[in-house]
């Protein structure tokens, strides 16, 4: 199956917490602007939906997952296309913004 469920997302997140060196210091205001593209599909409190809520994800976790989509190591065509044009600064900004929001559910 192509899509990443919340469970899988959690797994990726765990892996990245261990293996990735931290890049932080993203600009949350720029991240908020970039997030306008995310909210067309990702909704807060989407507990059972095929597209997971991403509010309150950990900063490092989100950086890790977005980079995995960008390198096509995670398999959703929409996410690969969206992340292809995100540079490291964009990803850090998105992670800084989303990690600052209260977790859904």
């Amino acid at each position: 199956m192509q899509l990443v469920t919340k469970k899988k997302l959690g797994l990726c997140l765990g892996i990245f917490l261990i293996s990735t060196s931290a890049y932080s210091g993203g600009d949350p205001e720029y991240g908020e602007y970039l997030s306008a593209e995310c909210v067309t599909c990702h909704q807060a409190n989407a507990a059972d939906a095929q597209i997971p809520s991403i509010e309150g994800m950990s900063e490092q976790g989100m950086i890790g997952v977005l980079k995995l989509y960008r390198s096509k190591d995670l398999d959703n065509q929409s996410m690969q296309t969206v992340t292809m044009r995100l540079n490291d600064e964009d990803i850090a900004a998105l992670a800084a913004y989303y990690s600052s929001l209260p977790t859904s559910e």
Binding site: M1, Q2, L3, Y33, E37, T40, Q50, T81, R85, N87
Partner: protein, 424 residues
Amino acid sequence: MTKMNRRDFTTGVVGLGAATATLITPSYAAGKKPRVVVIGGGAGGATAAKYIAKDSKGAIDVTLIEPSKNYYTCFFSNLYIGGHRDYASIGHTYEALASKHGVNVVHDWAMDVDRAAKTVTLASGAKIPYDRLVISPGIDMKYDSVNGYSAGQQNKMPHAWKSGTQVALLKSQVENMREGGTFVMVPPPNPFRCPPGPYERISMIASLLKKKNPTAKIIVLDPKEKFSKQALFTEGWEKHYGDMIEWIPASISGGVKNVNMDTMEIETDIDTFKADAGSIVPAQKAGTICERAGITKGDWCPIIPMTMQSAMDENIHVLGDASVASSMPKSGFSANSQAKVAAMAVRAALTDSKAFPPRFANTCWSLISDNNGVKVGASYKAGAEKIDVVDKFISKTGEADDMRSATYAESEAWYSAITNDMFG
């Protein structure tokens, strides 16, 4: 008062790479808020009104003009025809735009735009002044593009291309077709709203007939030689509906010569097809208000990719189906994406907010049969002449059932998210 012109705006944006730029603030007199009027409350207009109101935090007065109190989305209306959604689930109101975001929602028709005076005239006669105008009226039909078809008789073979009651009518006509009857679909010529839409509609009607009237036939008299996601639809039609669907391009039929709305006969070079039910979707053009405003070139409105401003008037932004936003298709997702670009440009022009380089995206999901979803999509950037593709994708033929099922579930989650993004 000092106004920022388009050149100032684009110059401000071009030099900044991924970083941010603070643009020149126009000197609106203290206490006099800039006014934005938005015409059309669909995927473009509702999103633009919400984002301008929400992100300006009360610094801009936003008025949305939309005749419908209950708005039915075109996207997912085919799923209602196929029995996968109920009618109420594709309907939305403007309650949250008004109560949560402070948008002044006016249920009326915009009849005219006076670009010199910068006012919009409503059907009620009221004139609403603007500093910036956002026009997102969607499409209107060119009824005379199909000989014999007319607005007065459209209900006999409804185009149902603006959702709402016509879609409910079409569904009931398909359900009440005689056993073994013929449904005739005439898709529109390019360019038109929702490129995969006619083919998803054919799929959903086939899905309905397979369950209720399995000996019925569907004849598609297409003015085109190819269509969106063609390989995916063709594969799915053969696999799930056998020989129920016959797609006939204009190179074979010679095109539709005439439609007799009394006898429901559709004449082509090869045959005259008698329909028991049908849907004729004429050629399309930008919503009529665009002609009234004088911002069309041919049937559509040319735009500046960086800001979605009209190429003919820097105080007007045109969104969605009415605009020439190629390479983006005319879709709700595209309109929603363009609205955010325009909202940012409007705020930057009227307040001291930052402007970032615009980013556009689109995905079009289609349902071919039960739990069998496919998608096509792309990301885009503003080029000098048009909106250029950065990267694109499409579902593959022969995909496993669980992937198709996941794609369908993804489309349902998207519907919930985008309608919340527009109306919530």
